[in-house]
């Protein structure tokens, strides 16, 4: 606070409240609707007050969309993407920053380019690769040796298929690289003087030091993994592997039945909850990670 400015302060609060209505208002509408009865939610004008029917609506949504197994699948998917990204990014960044090899810059650019082309624009051939994982190897072998091998392996309807293509980009690598670059040279020298090799240095020094980074990346990747929509839609046909995003359509009121939007909203709230909790709890690290990752 620099000077006394009551009018500007009032205006600031007004703007912040407007921001609240704009950004948090939709949550409140969903919450109100999700706790109302069928009559209440279909009445005009809309009742903004929450009622006491949330648990009934939530359990109706839970069974209608089979959310139990979908929540478990989404959770597994989000965790695998998070763990995969965090682990692989740390390893690659370590290789890029702390070694002097001729391949260093090649690795760096190879990883860097993956930031340019999102899954959505290469989704068709990525699907083809996942449906026939060994095709590149078969082509390679037949080009090199002339032998036609007929091994096939597809990733459709599997957790590997759901997660591996999403792990294959470089978002996390850059977060780690930026952080590793800020560490002083003395750290490596001290480790070398102590007689510890690169692997010891990585496990005992780098990993504990990058805890903040890891929490940041964990938040970002959990949200990313949980919120995947197009890829599970393509990869999964077996209902046992359905994720929450695929259950959304089952929650919508069908054309010929009662417009029970109260159930739909309760279901959408359940689906929104896990990433929301993660962001709320880890927000401090998440913000730090975002700002460091992109700039």
């Amino acid at each position: 606070m620099i000077q006394r400015t009551p009018i500007a302060d009032a205006l600031t609060y007004l703007l912040m409240v407007l921001g609240f209505i704009l950004l948090i208002g939709p949550f409140l509408v969903i919450l109100a609707g999700a706790s109302q009865t069928l009559q209440q939610i279909n009445s005009v004008p809309f009742h903004f007050l929450p009622q006491d029917r949330f648990l009934e609506n939530a359990s109706a949504a839970w069974s209608r969309a089979n959310l139990g197994s979908a929540m478990i699948n989404s959770f597994i998917m989000a965790c695998l993407v998070t763990v995969g990204k965090v682990a692989l990014s740390a390893c690659t960044a370590f290789a890029i920053v702390f070694f002097r090899t001729p391949l260093k810059h090649f690795f760096f650019w190879m990883v860097f380019i993956t930031l340019m082309l999102p899954l959505e624009v290469r989704v068709v051939p990525t699907y083809a690769v996942a449906a026939d994982l060994f095709q590149p190897f078969r082509l390679l072998i037949s080009a090199l040796t002339g032998i036609e091998v007929s091994v096939e392996w597809n990733l459709l309807n599997s957790y590997a298929g759901l997660t591996l293509p999403l792990i294959a980009t470089a978002t996390g690598t850059f977060l780690y690289r930026q952080f590793f670059m800020t560490l002083p040279n003395e750290l490596v020298e001290a480790a070398r003087m102590d007689g510890s090799g690169p692997v010891r240095f990585f496990v005992d020094m780098l990993i504990p030091l990058s805890r903040t980074n890891m929490l940041a990346l964990t938040t970002i990747m959990f949200v990313y993994g949980w919120n995947q929509y197009l890829w599970p839609l393509l990869m999964i046909t077996d209902p046992a592997y359905k994720t929450t995003m695929m259950s959304l359509s089952a929650l919508l009121p069908s054309e010929n039945s009662l417009p029970d939007w109260n159930v739909t909203l309760a279901g959408s709230l359940i689906i929104m909850a896990p990433p929301l909790v993660v962001v709320a709890v880890l927000q401090r690290w998440f913000v730090r990670g975002l700002v460091a990752a992109e700039k």
Binding site: I2, T12, Y13, M16, F20, L22, L23, P26, F27, V29, I41, V44, F46, L88, C91, T92, F94, A95, F98, F99, R100, L103, K104, F107, M110, L117, E120, V121, R122, V123, V124, P125, Y127, A128, V129, P136, L164, I167, A168, A170, T173, M181, E186, V188, W226, N227, Y229, L230, L248, P259, W261, T264, S268, I271, M272, P275, L276, Q283, V287, E294
Partner: protein, 296 residues
Amino acid sequence: MEKRAVFKNWWLPILFALPQILLILLFFYWPAIAVMKWAFTLEPPFGGIAEFVGLTNFEEVFADPFYWNSVAVSLIFALCGTCFTILVGLVLAIAVDRRLPGSGLFRFLYILPYAIAGPAAGMAFRFILSPERGLMASLNAAFPDFWNPAKYGAHALILVIIIFAWKWTGYTFIFLLAGLQSVPRSLTEAAAMDGAGPIRRAIDIQVPLLAPTLFFLLVIMMTEGFVGSDTFGIVHSTTGGGPNHGTEVMVFRIVDEAFKGLNYSGASAQSIVLIGLIMIFTFIQFRFIEKRVHYK
């Protein structure tokens, strides 16, 4: 910046980088090369020999009026989404940066929509902004057909842009707030002593110093609007591209063409054009806007 003290082992870095490199080769480079190849060949959907057809796929794509419609829809979507998220994010960041009592709570709350998946938000907004119930019902009762996204393409496009903007405003807000907090306090204090009020200070000092952040967000949000996963998710779950192709963005058309129409060559050609467009935008933004941006 090069590190002086480094390890000299040659095979260990390869071992450490190998898992990610293998994944990238298999799920990024191979498909990326396939897109280029398929765009110039006629790929039979159920296997068989691909035939090189030159630019035929592109000619077919460009001859389709619905394709040009999707280009226009994508442009409107990305431009409106970008402008809204950056402007609102900027205003909120300036307000929160005044650090009045309670600012911290608002900062905490504004970021929360970022956690919500586009499709989940889309479903909720189908209710919130439905013509028959929710917030718009009273208005629609007074003025029939005032708002009907199921009937009018323009309304549907506004609906999906609102969902996109809702989700991403918190994201631009974080960056702009971080940018504002790195503006030296002494600068704003000096301006205050010279008699510049809060609004004057925001326009003359804070916003110009934010130029690099604003530029970065412009590039990021345009790309996000064009090819981001939320764009497809929101459109697919909310309007399904309709009514009457009114919300059919380019990514939606690519996926539709490939997996419904089984036209892999056409979809690949569209992907190439989309990548080209993104590159052109990024180039234009660097060429013409970055000149006006003053880095510290």
